[in-house]
């Protein structure tokens, strides 16, 4: 990869004239006030874009990448900016490419069990369309009502159903993308099995906009399960909650989702919502199972039996979406509610081998206490993906450095347990500096070489990922 010093450092008047002609009217935004939001995402980092463009067609994307490559202008692909690691923030300058005008569902095929979509389609809206045809697109990041399929693919978004159904990667059959210079790549296709050549489609998944700009995604669908059921149980200790979770697996039940929230996460939710659990609660488990309506009541009974030896303080059951929704609402609110613990947050999403979860969470809580910052742990217990949120007050320099120290010890413990510093958010800019703690020199050199094949000048989302 060439060094970024060869990239343009600002747009020239000629550049702007080009963009005006390619993106007429509202397709180009250059007013700083209007551009501000395009420079920020849910990581709460921000940087002002040089310009924002909104392509409506693939032809515009091809022309844009041809021009950007020849002028060495950095491009930062963006959908709805709900990522948690600053992947969409133009921290190293560049033109933001919004995919929100590429938002058509092109095809949903109940015989092929696949769909073709443009990247700007909102995930939940797509799921609703598939459900009309009794089809199922399982990936369900917490942001599914507000994030897009393009963003989900770029970050390999996870979600609560990953324990049974896997993550976004497992549902991407094909990617059509435009590369620097205007080359169009058609990776993968509509076949559910395909072993011809290297798996380029999956290479794009989680690449954080560093390899190409998506114009079409082919997604795998499943038959829609008839129904689902949910159990929420509160426990007097974290160990009890985790032993309850073990009991569920040992009973031979593979839940669709298995979530936990520790004491501080439960407290934060209680600050913005009436909660059903008692005060002495130290951990909450939320489990979902799916299947046929005839079997779900029996499954709920099995779950209750499997959890009983762990002595839950209370247990709520919901059969069917209407009864389940209030239980899941509590889990979804954890992320925003966390700010009741402190005005600023370092949100980490480490993952450890499943058997190490207790050791990891207890270790993270102890690190918070040691550093004098608020650490709330919650997340996807079923697959070992733990959200470790460190809350602090950034206006206090001492707290800021203690939060930073806490984050680093969290990463070190995670890696010592054989885990990863990001299970689903991606590394973006917030975790970029720590990638070398996890990936060896050889692996990083390989990745840089691959990036160089796709994007020889390094114009796509510079500074993100693993470099």
């Amino acid at each position: 990869m060439k060094s970024s010093t060869s990239l343009a450092t600002a747009l020239t008047p000629a550049h702007l004239r080009f963009l005006e002609s390619l993106f007429p009217g509202e397709g180009l935004v250059t007013d700083p006030t209007q551009m501000a939001v395009y420079g920020a995402d849910s990581s709460r980092r921000s940087a002002m874009p040089w310009a924002v463009v909104r392509p409506r067609t693939e032809e515009q994307v091809v022309e844009l990448l041809t021009w950007a490559e020849s002028e060495r202008v950095p491009l930062v692909p963006r959908a709805r900016g709900t990522g948690m690691s600053g992947g969409a923030v133009p921290a190293f300058g560049g033109v933001v490419v919004s995919s929100l005008w590429l938002n058509c569902v092109l095809d949903i095929d109940a015989d092929d069990f696949c769909a073709e979509v443009e990247p700007g389609v909102v995930t939940a809206e797509f799921q609703a369309l598939t459900q009309k045809q009794k089809l199922f697109y399982p990936p369900d990041p917490a942001s599914l009502k507000i994030s897009t399929l393009g963003g989900n693919v770029a970050t390999c978004a996870g979600g609560m159903r990953a324990v049974k159904y896997g993550v976004t990667r497992d549902y991407v059959l094909g990617v059509r993308a435009v590369l620097p210079g205007g080359r169009i790549v058609n990776a993968g296709g509509r076949s559910h099995k395909n072993v011809v050549g290297l798996d380029l489609a999956r290479l794009f998944v989680g690449s954080c906009g560093t390899l190409g700009i998506f114009t079409k995604l082919t997604l795998k669908l499943l038959p829609l399960p008839e129904g689902s059921a949910t159990v929420l149980a509160a426990f007097p200790t974290l160990a009890d909650a985790l032993s309850g979770a073990r009991g569920v697996f040992r009973a031979g039940i593979l839940p669709t989702a298995m979530e936990f929230m520790d004491a501080k996460a439960c407290w934060a939710v209680g600050q913005i919502k009436d909660v059903p659990w008692p005060k002495e609660t130290q951990a909450v488990l939320v489990l979902k199972v799916d299947g046929s309506n005839a079997s779900l009541a029996a499954e709920l009974a099995r779950l209750e039996v499997a959890l009983a030896p762990a002595h839950p303080l209370c247990l709520f059951k919901g059969l069917g979406a209407q009864e389940e929704e209030p239980l899941w609402e509590l889990r979804r609110l954890v992320s925003p509610a966390g700010f009741r613990l402190g005005p600023d947050k370092l949100g980490e999403d480490v993952a450890v081998p499943r058997g190490s979860t207790v050791q990891a969470v207890e270790g993270f809580q102890a690190m918070g206490a040691e550093q004098g910052v608020q650490v709330a742990c919650y997340g996807h217990l079923g697959d070992g993906n733990i959200h470790v949120n460190i809350f602090y007050d950034a206006s206090d320099a001492d707290q800021r450095s203690r939060a930073q120290a806490c984050k680093e010890t969290v990463f070190r413990l995670t890696l010592s347990l054989g885990g990863t510093i990001s299970g689903e958010h991606g590394t973006g800019i917030t975790k970029g500096p720590y990638v070398s703690w996890q990936l060896g020199e050889e692996e990083r050199a390989l990745m840089a070489g691959i990036k160089n094949v796709f994007d020889p000048s390094g114009i796509l989302n510079p500074g993100k990922g693993w470099s």
Partner: protein, 403 residues
């Protein structure tokens, strides 16, 4: 543990993106509530000092529908941020008065009759849509009645409210261009056996607040509370969703003598439709085969009542009523019609597309009429202004016969 933040601050989580009708209709992220909170909120964009006038102009492009407020886990109120910004901007206030009062004022006071007579050529471009909405409200422009009430839930009403006096809050439209709403509402209250008293209410103040005129809003609010006290603190019955929200918003603003009076006010606000639950009705001549229901953004105030108009109409009309699963905002947006009429029209078109998908009037106009009922004066104005050719729009009160 840390205390809860004193003033709610946007954390850029994006939960609000789900509900914003402007973002959904335009795909322009700069119009999202998050963009506005980022610019106008306490967590101002870190890397730039942006011109205040530009920030105020962008922030002002808001429908004030309040959907983002309901979705925000932090309690950030983007419409309130926007109103504060407008209020702090002297040029804006001047502009506002010029547009709204000087130009549109006469049309309001002429009970929209004048609007109907104004040749289009004399209308400034930016006022076109607003004026078209007013024309839709001209006397005689409403729907013909076709629904007769066969049974009033007198016993349920009596059991709940006894002899407590009841006052109708008519709002600007019920008092002016659509007087028939006020007449039918009184007919219905009499049918319930309510002891109706009169109150000297003025505008609820909600549009004034959104328009960045907090002084005028406060004045209207104080006057309304005085009128309520003067009438003996009766039950206040509304039939416009936005008026009801406007009145409910008095709570928490330090307008009342004490907490008891404030609670009494809150508990005294009742939508007319909620009082009528349990009524029976019969459709007569002139009834459309199906009628669409447009859900106003302010219909559900999260107070446990839900959308009472929708519930009442569903019980009275049964399968004749069709309600889109996903309610779209009509695009009225307080004053967005004046500040950005093209955005307001774009959202309005999206709303009619949703209604069409439910009713199917463009596919089979001879079978299904484009006939839409709603329960908010702003929505009636906007839907009238953006309606496709031949569509009929009105408040549900208009279809109720008074014989």
């Amino acid at each position: 543990m840390a205390d809860a933040p004193k003033s709610p601050d946007c954390v850029l989580c994006g939960c609000c993106l789900e509900g914003c009708p402007l973002l959904s209709a335009t795909g322009r992220e700069e119009l999202s509530p998050r963009a506005k909170a980022l610019l106008a909120g306490p967590s101002k964009f870190m890397d730039a000092s942006l011109p205040e006038a530009d920030v105020a102009a962008l922030t002002g492009l808001c429908l004030a529908c309040g959907r983002c407020e309901k979705l925000c886990p932090q309690g950030v109120q983007v419409p309130a941020l926007m109103a504060a910004m407008r209020a702090s901007h002297p040029d804006f206030k001047q502009w506002m008065w010029k547009q709204w009062i000087t130009r549109l004022g006469p049309y309001w006071s002429l009970a929209a009759k004048g609007a109907a007579l104004t040749p289009d050529a004399f209308v400034p471009a930016s006022l076109g849509l607003a004026l078209k909405g007013l024309k839709g409200l001209r006397p005689g422009g409403g729907l013909r009645p076709w629904l007769g009430i066969t049974k009033f839930p007198r016993e349920a009403f009596g059991a709940k409210y006894g002899q407590r006096p009841v006052v109708l809050f008519d709002g600007c439209v019920g008092k002016g261009p659509r007087g028939v709403w006020a007449e039918t509402a009184r007919f219905l209250l009499n049918g319930l056996g309510a002891k109706v008293v009169e109150g000297r209410f003025s505008c609820c103040g909600s549009t004034l607040g959104v328009a960045g005129l907090p002084g005028d809003q406060a004045h209207a609010r104080v006057a309304n509370i005085a009128a309520w006290r003067e009438a003996g603190r009766p039950l206040v019955v509304t039939y416009c969703a936005t008026c009801r929200k406007g009145l409910a918003d008095y709570v928490g603003c330090g307008l009342f003598a004490d907490g008891d009076e404030e609670r009494l006010w809150r508990d005294s606000l009742a939508p007319l439709s909620a009082l009528l639950m349990g009524a029976g009705a019969k459709a007569g001549r002139g009834a459309p085969t199906v009628a669409g229901y447009h859900r106003p953004c302010h219909a559900d105030l999260n107070d446990g009542l839900g959308d009472a108009d929708c519930k009442l109409l569903s019980s009275l009309l049964g399968a004749r009523l069709r309600t889109p699963a996903k309610g779209g905002c009509c695009g009225f947006g307080g004053i967005l019609q004046l500040s950005a009429p093209e955005l307001s029209a774009t959202v309005g078109r999206g709303c009619w597309d949703v209604l069409d998908a439910t009713l199917g009037f463009s596919a089979a106009p001879e079978v299904t009429p484009a006939y839409v009922l709603t329960g908010c004066s702003g929505c009636v104005m906007q839907l009238s202004a953006t309606a496709p050719q031949g569509a009929r729009v009105g408040h549900w009160l208009e279809v109720i016969g008074r014989s």
